[in-house]
């Protein structure tokens, strides 16, 4: 089912079916989108539930001006940023930097099955500033168009291109130290 068909279904009053279609089509994609930021499966699982509760609550306000998938990614990204803000506060209390905390999560993750290059890549992503991290994840992994990323982040395409260029160069340089 396409996004358009899901919206049609919703407008016909079949709200529950429309939501279930969103779950079927996007739960896995959004899971990986969130996991790239949070690394841990447990954190991702917790936050994904909240994301879909927000999607269900916000569905009546979806006017169709934006694309459905960018709207969903926007809700998910905002939820991730809220979670990271809370994590940052926790890291301040535990005298551990946010970056150290995330690197530790990658190293200790029982579900990590990549090689050393992949480990270093994901650690390097955690070192990026927040905006660059969002752009890099959406562009490099999801191969999204800048126009779509612009709808998700509310940032201009020009600014996104610059952010991606910076992020890409930083990660490339970081990986070259090891390989």
């Amino acid at each position: 089912m396409t996004d358009k068909e899901i919206i049609e279904l919703y407008r016909e009053g079949k709200t529950e079916s429309a939501f279930n279609q969103i779950v079927r089509l996007y739960s896995e994609r959004l899971y990986w989108h969130v996991r790239r930021f949070l690394c841990s499966h447990e954190d991702t699982n917790d936050i994904l539930q909240d994301i879909f509760i927000k999607i269900w609550a916000a569905l009546p306000s979806f006017r169709g001006d934006a694309q459905l998938f960018t709207w969903l990614y926007r809700i998910a990204t905002n939820e991730v940023l809220n979670f990271l803000r809370k994590q940052k506060f926790k890291s301040l209390v535990s005298f551990e930097s946010m970056q150290e905390m995330m690197e530790k999560k990658i190293d200790e993750d029982a579900f990590f099955n990549g090689d050393e290059v992949q480990r270093q890549l994901h650690k390097a992503i955690q070192k990026l500033p927040q905006k660059q991290r969002i752009v890099f994840n959406l562009r490099y992994f999801d191969e999204m168009k800048y126009e779509d990323i612009s709808e998700i982040t509310g940032t201009s395409v020009g600014s996104l291109k610059a952010s991606y260029h910076h992020a890409y160069t930083k990660i490339k340089d970081e990986l070259q130290k090891y390989f």
């Binding site: 709200t15 529950e16 939501f19 279930n20 779950v23 079927r24 739960s27 896995e28 899971y31 990986w32 996991r35 790239r36 690394c39 499966h41 699982n45 994904l48 539930q49 879909f52 509760i53 269900w56 993750d109 579900f111 990590f112 099955n113 990549g114 090689d115 290059v117 992949q118 480990r119 890549l121 994901h122 490099y140 992994f141 890409y168 990660i171 490339k172 990986l175 070259q176 390989f179």
Partner: protein, 131 residues
Amino acid sequence: MERDILKDSADKLKKMPYEVPEGYFSMLGSKLEKIAAPQKTSAYKRLIPYAALAASFLLLVTIGTYFLKHVTPSDTLSDEDLVVFAKIIPTTDPMAIYYSQETESQEITEDDIIEYLIYNDIPLESLELIK
């Protein structure tokens, strides 16, 4: 020429190096679909708030009745308060005034006789005779 590992190893690097527990996504789907499912509550559960309200009202009435029956002024009032309350007696039982007067004096006075005669329409002349 500078090596670009992100480009050269893109196929491998773009893959997620994480796993999920077995059967996770099918479990996730059914868990998330419950969000939109209408909440079905039994009639019993819907009655709980009303039953709680009725029970608290009953409790309030019981406590109130207990206080009214068992906590009387004599239990809590001082002697001075009892004197004040004693003055209330005529308003609750007006005849008490006459009882108290009777106890003050049992004798029939001249005024009592005159009042009795006036009340029974005895002519004025007869009253004069009494005097």
